[in-house]
């Protein structure tokens, strides 16, 4: 009732001061008027799965659904899960009245809109006024946002096909007129002022540490005991037992169907029915003193107490105490155990060797740890927990510190290698990958793939002092022998128009003043990841892929999809490229490169072929020096027959080799075998793998892990030319627009799309032709992409199992639910229903009309006026917008390099939302909001 009064006052103020921002008041407040025989909406809702939607997130199945959806956080904290299992999950704190409880799941205001402005009786009695004040009626479009088939759910639980009309009947809650609850003069059981209500208990007893007790209670029939009284059956029982009228007003009924009195009456049999009035022990409980709580009244129910209501034969049912007790058992399994039981691999990515060669430090992405290996015994001697998704690792020149980049939480962990403990965590840019210090260990350089820049960290202050612009997808790093320069590779090409060759950058930082010294452009190449500078400092080697996207992807057999090689960046600015491929025996996904201290050999890991190539530097140099300028520019970068002249051999290693490190004496090369959870030891003299260092990964190989192996392997491609990873590094994008055969040769160019967190965003492809990931990756893939035998059904299942678990990065632009002023204004524009001049915008013309939360797609096909003369259809899949900032370029053919261009250049007729009335500052606000999704 207090909430009602507050908002009645608020409404008066709002009326006098102009239109107020609506806020959510919660179902309890709605129930003030909608909980009577005539208006039976509250109890009717309370009995539906909608009301239990939030609580179901505590179930073990929720953890499994989240896991296979690539959702790493607790479902109770996931915007994706909460987007359909709660109301106002994306609202800011100021938009939630104290009477609002997110634990009430999908409640009244999820369908009818925030209630503060229409809740007053005089407004509600005037339908037009209520509508004006924001009351809305849900429609099929709104319901289908959450009720479309989700493969994440159907894979784990039984979900009946959603029939909109039937569903509306099930949740129907008609009713109008009659007296309000207070006016009915119902009797009150106990009227005990000491009862605080379940929501007070739940304020502490909700989370994982408390075993999700509140959620478990909500899933019991106790919680619906009051709501049950609103049913026809309850009225029949009541009538048979001599209770007239609405059982909800009967003291006799309420004695066993509710707890105490007050606002939480409607929540049925709550905690305090079993544990005693909370006001007696709440202070002691909150202080974490169970003994004291017991001393002042916290109790546990006895059988006799249960039987006070559960009398044998009451209402025609028997009471089986143990059976009933198990149903309300607070310690029954929940998602915490399911989350903890997930198989955790190591997935070593990069490594570093101590200056004395005795220790090897391995960044293990899947276990969020830095493994410490004794190189003599070749055993793991310690594992140090670092941040989320550790990727790169480097050591200070004296070997005293390790710096580990954590691409999942945008930090660098500083590890004291003497004490083997974390001593600091430094915030850097988005998705940090490569890390390296300067020669004096005063500055750390961090390549941030997500924000396309380089963090410059002062190691004395242990903080980022500036950010340098890199290319796109800053990835690997290497320091020149004289310490004057740091080379930073970039995974993605600069933006280029369709049918224009890629242009990728290697950024050179001058360490003296930490500014950009040069940007070496590598033409017709992308996926530049590994880099190492020769001991003489006269050149650097980088790994690269030459993607042939200028022609339709039909020439795999001729080597015209992708070739793989190295770039040679000479000190005079010249850039050469050489392929590591051989005809029909490609070297897919060259990932890292390491040059031996004597400068004679370079080792290159081939992530897609499970091999390490050994490059003879002198022979490589000779080939280049003896070639004409024309040949160096045009012939050698594409020549499949040259590698046999300078690649001594390929050494077989474990699955998915990634980072490389050479021992200081040049005797060994260590190779991170990412999908074997091990490190290969290559004897440089023998040119072969002589040992494997087991990092202690689990024996069990899950289906998803098998799929991860398939994803990263080029075995599925003719000649082992490329892998899924070649186009989707880290599950993301390669920034390239392709002409793919199934849509017709020479037509329908399509921008590559991310695989992060896509499971429930079907259909797939811009044309929406693939209803499932398995169809996307099934036989058609072999026909049009890989040109060898298609995946077996088992392989397809495994591949899908992996792809759907590829996690989406945490959103960098939104911390908690609070928005910046610009983001807040942008959200209003995203949801607006009228133009700046007051003209109504139809639902299909609103951003939120086609891009509703939580995935910000309604998964439909629509025309937004972007079809070009190359397109054979004008409707395209509505893309999800989660982390949209990391997947430029935009639109189906990648024509928009920035979010701004979608509307400034490619929406001239308001077909892609009504936007042309927006001022420039409004568009900026809209984009700031989009980046938070």
């Amino acid at each position: 009732m207090k909430g009602f009064v507050v908002f009645a006052i608020g409404m008066l103020l709002a009326t006098s001061a102009g239109a107020a921002e609506p806020v959510y008041v919660g179902a309890e407040v709605c129930g003030e008027c909608h909980d009577s025989l005539q208006r039976d909406q509250l109890a009717a809702w309370y009995r539906t799965p909608h009301a239990r939607a939030h609580a179901t997130l505590a179930l073990p199945e929720a953890a499994e659904i989240a896991r296979i959806s690539g959702i790493e956080e607790n479902p109770f904290e996931s915007p994706i899960c909460l987007g359909c299992h709660a109301t106002a999950s994306d609202a800011e704190a100021w938009q939630l009245d104290p009477t609002f409880h997110i634990a009430d799941g999908v409640q009244c205001e999820r369908c009818h809109g925030p209630g503060s402005e229409y809740m007053a009786a005089e407004v509600m009695l005037d339908p037009e006024a209520a509508r004006e004040a924001g009351l809305r009626k849900p429609d099929r479009r709104l319901c289908m946002v959450c009720h479309k088939v989700k493969f994440s759910h159907t894979s784990v639980i039984e979900v009946k096909p959603f029939d909109y009309d039937e569903a509306m009947k099930k949740i129907a809650h008609p009713g109008f007129g009659g007296e309000q609850r207070e006016a009915a003069g119902r009797s009150r059981p106990g009227d005990d002022p000491h009862v605080v209500g379940v929501m007070v208990c739940a304020s502490c007893h909700a989370g994982e540490s408390m075993g999700y007790v509140a959620s478990k209670w909500r899933l019991t029939r106790h919680a619906e005991a009051y709501a049950t009284l609103g049913t026809e059956g309850a009225r029949s029982i009541a009538a048979a037992e001599g209770v007239d009228g609405d059982p909800r007003t009967s003291r006799t009924c309420l004695e066993c169907h509710s707890t105490g009195d007050g606002p939480s009456l409607t929540r049925g049999v709550q905690c305090e029915s079993c544990h005693g009035p909370g006001s007696d022990h709440i202070e002691q409980a909150a202080a974490g003193n169970p003994m004291a709580s017991h001393a002042v009244g916290l109790g546990y129910p006895t059988r006799a107490e249960c039987e006070r209501c559960h009398q044998p034969g009451i209402h025609g049912s028997e009471f089986e105490y143990q059976s009933y007790l198990s149903r309300v058992d607070h310690s029954r399994a929940d998602m915490a155990a399911a989350r903890a039981a997930a198989v955790e691999y190591k997935t070593p990515f990069n490594l570093a060797v101590s200056p004395d060669g005795q220790r090897l430090y391995v960044a293990c992405e899947a276990s969020d740890a830095l493994a410490v290996v004794d190189t003599a015994s070749r055993e793991v001697v310690d594992e140090i927990e670092v941040g989320n998704l550790p990727h790169g690792v480097c050591l200070s020149p004296d070997g005293g510190r390790a710096y580990v980049s954590n691409r999942g939480d945008d930090t660098v962990t500083v590890v004291d290698l003497e004490e083997l403990e974390v001593v600091d965590t430094i915030a850097v840019g988005d998705e940090p990958h490569g890390v390296i210090t300067d020669a004096t260990a005063t500055t750390l350089y961090v390549a941030n793939a997500g924000s396309a820049d380089i963090s410059v960290v002062d190691l004395q202050q242990r903080r980022e002092v500036k950010r340098l612009s890199a290319g796109r997808g800053a990835w690997g790093v290497s320091r020149s022998p004289d310490g004057a320069s740091v080379f930073v590779t970039n995974n993605l090409s600069h933006f280029v128009p369709f049918r224009t060759p890629s242009r990728s950058e290697v950024t050179v930082v001058g360490t003296e003043s930490s500014v950009i010294a040069d940007r070496v452009m590598v033409p017709e190449a992308n996926l530049i990841q590994g880099v190492d500078v020769a001991p003489g400092g006269d050149f650097a080697l980088v790994t690269l892929i030459r993607t042939k996207n200028l022609v339709p992807m039909t020439r795999v057999l001729q080597g015209w999809v992708m070739t793989n090689g190295i770039g040679v960046l000479w000190g005079d600015g010249r850039v050469d490229q050489l392929l590591l491929d051989e005809p029909d025996n490609y070297f897919a996904d060259p990932t890292d490169v390491a040059i031996t201290p004597d400068g004679r050999l370079a080792f290159v890991s081939g992530g897609g072929v499970d091999q390490v190539a050994v490059v003879d530097i002198e022979r490589m140099r000779s080939i280049l020096e003896n070639a004409s300028d024309d040949d160096r520019r045009d012939l050698l970068p594409n020549h499949l027959g040259v590698s046999t002249e300078f690649v001594e051999r390929r050494i077989e290693v474990g699955r998915n080799p990634r980072g490389l490190a050479v021992s200081p004496d040049g005797r060994y090369v260590y190779v991170a075998e990412a999908l074997d959870d091990s490190v290969a030891v290559i004897d440089v003299i023998q040119r072969r793998k002589t040992a494997t260092i087991d990092l202690g990964g689990p024996e069990e190989i899950t289906l998803a892990r098998k799929g991860e192996d398939i994803f990263h392997s080029a075995e599925v491609t003719y000649g082992r030319q490329f892998s899924c990873h070649s186009c989707h590094p880290d599950g993301g994008i390669d920034n390239i627009t392709y002409d793919i055969e199934p849509d017709g040769i020479g037509v329908n160019p399509v921008d590559n799309r991310t695989l992060r967190g896509i499971l429930d965003t079907a259909p797939f492809k811009w044309t929406g032709k693939n209803a499932t990931i398995s169809r996307q990756c099934g036989p058609r893939l072999a026909v049009f992409f890989t040109r060898i035998d298609p995946f077996t059904p088992d392989q397809v299942v495994a591949l899908e199992s992996y792809i759907r678990t590829i996690p989406r990065n945490p959103n960098r632009y939104r911390v908690g639910n609070e928005l910046t002023p610009a983001q807040r204004r942008g959200k209003a524009l995203f949801e607006r229903s009228t133009t700046n001049s007051g003209e109504p915008i139809p639902v299909e013309g609103r951003c939120s009309g086609c891009h509703p939360a939580p995935y910000f797609t309604n998964r439909e096909m629509v025309s937004v006026g972007t079809a070009s003369e190359l397109d054979t259809q004008d409707v395209f899949d509505i893309p999800h917008l989660n982390n949209i900032y990391e997947s430029a370029p935009y639109l189906h053919d990648g024509r928009a390099e920035t979010l701004e261009e979608i509307w400034t250049r490619f929406n001239p007729y308001d077909e892609h939302g009504v936007t042309n009335d927006m001022t420039k500052d409004q568009l900026n606000d809209l984009i700031e909001y989009l980046k938070t999704l």
């Binding site: 840019g429 820049d453 612009s469 950024t507 950009i516 400034t904 250049r905 420039k920 500052d921 984009i927």
Partner: protein, 396 residues
């Protein structure tokens, strides 16, 4: 606009006349002798080097912007960006990747070394490691492509445009726009911007000087209190005129140029100068740049006016004595009282000065026809120290 029309006139000078001018310049230069300044006198730039387009390496001699970066000088012209370093010119035109031909403003980030280039009609460019990144009103949050001024403060690039101010946070990528909707802008035509000490100063053509406090995120407006267009009704009551063209913040002093004179604000007191009461040869100031809290250089449509010493109101004004004079003359005086003149060897044919910059002891000026460097050999701040100035003697 005025500058371009002047430039067009100058560019029509016949080659023969030009050659004669160059020859005469050398002759005069040979005649100028550098003498030590007398006690209490201001420094005078007597020896100048001049630079024109094709013959000297500039991409174009319509100079719009000058920015020193240590020993390097960045020059914005009507057709390209130029860099002067180690007595050598390099330049970038559109064919070299410059996104737009007209460079109207340049700022160098102290932190990153990146060069931010304002493009008149083309938006903004970042020049970093040889790469141009283009930001315009279509592909970014920049409010308008007609850019007049650029300044960098910490991680934020401030851009003065014809439709308001834009601010780009280079770390987050967020753009902010300030117009009449969210700033005290009576007009939105922002002509220039300067930044320092946590403050950003925007010169708004018709809107005075707007001061942005980075910490409080609030604007403070400095306007002409008397609101008179043609006269300064109450002397030193505030900004001298609301049609401002530049702001320059140095040593906690704000210098503001207008088309009706120069203003100085020390945070408490305003001081204004017009041509009738100072060494300003013209009230039409394209840009003013403070060299210190007590000295300011004004680029006018009639040469360069230097307030050499605020305390003594000592001025040095550089201009050609007559339209057909072969070299420029320095007029030295107190207030509007001219004491003496010094002939310099500066031979630029156009004294519509649009840009100026300090580089060490040297002074660079950019005009509608060529660029010149005043060689600051023996340069000193204020007045020569051999004798105290009269005001100092009076204890003022």
């Amino acid at each position: 606009m005025t500058s371009s029309s002047t430039s067009r006139r100058c560019s029509a000078i016949p080659a023969l006349v030009f050659a004669i001018l160059v020859l005469a310049t050398w002759t005069v230069a040979a005649q100028v002798t550098e003498k030590p300044a007398a006690a209490g006198e201001p420094y005078v730039y007597t020896h100048w080097e001049t630079f024109y387009a094709e013959e000297d390496g500039l991409p174009n001699d319509h100079i719009f912007a000058l920015t020193a970066d240590g020993d390097r000088l960045w020059v914005g012209t009507e057709d390209g960006l130029a860099l002067y370093e180690d007595k050598t010119w390099r330049s970038w035109r559109e064919k070299d990747g410059l996104p737009w031909r007209v460079v109207s403003a340049i700022a160098v980030s102290e932190k990153t070394g990146d060069v931010w280039v304002g493009l008149l009609g083309g938006g903004l460019a970042r020049f970093s490691g040889g790469r141009f990144d283009h930001f315009n009103q279509f592909n970014s949050g920049l409010v308008n492509d007609v850019v007049y001024g650029v300044a960098v403060l910490d991680d934020t690039v401030w851009v003065a445009t014809t439709a308001g101010m834009s601010a780009l946070n280079t770390v987050t990528g967020e753009w902010e726009i300030y117009t009449e909707k969210n700033a005290p802008m009576e007009e939105i035509w922002c002509y220039n911007v300067d930044a320092g000490d946590g403050k950003v100063y925007a010169a708004v053509w018709g809107g005075g000087i707007l001061e942005w406090d980075v910490e409080t995120r609030r604007w403070n407006a400095h306007r002409d209190p008397d609101r008179e267009m043609e006269i300064d009704l109450y002397r030193d009551d505030g900004l001298i005129h609301i049609i401002t063209t530049s702001a320059s913040y140095v040593d906690e002093v704000l210098w503001a140029s207008t088309y009706f004179g120069l203003s100085r604000y020390d945070g408490r007191h305003w001081r204004g100068w017009m041509d009738h009461d100072s060494g300003l040869a013209s009230n039409f100031i394209n840009i003013a740049k403070g060299r210190s809290g007590t000295s300011c250089y004004s680029a006018t449509d009639y040469g360069v006016a230097v307030l050499s010493d605020f305390a003594t109101d000592t001025w040095v004004s550089y201009r050609r004595e007559t339209e057909d004079a072969e070299t420029w003359t320095a007029y030295i005086g107190t207030g509007n009282e001219e004491r003496r003149t010094v002939v310099t060897d500066l031979s630029l044919p156009n004294h519509f000065v649009i840009a100026l910059e300090f580089q060490g002891d040297d002074l660079w000026i950019g005009t509608g026809h060529g660029l010149a460097r005043g060689v600051g050999k023996g340069f000193f701040e204020g007045l020569s120290k051999a004798e105290a100035s009269p005001r100092e003697e009076e204890g003022q």
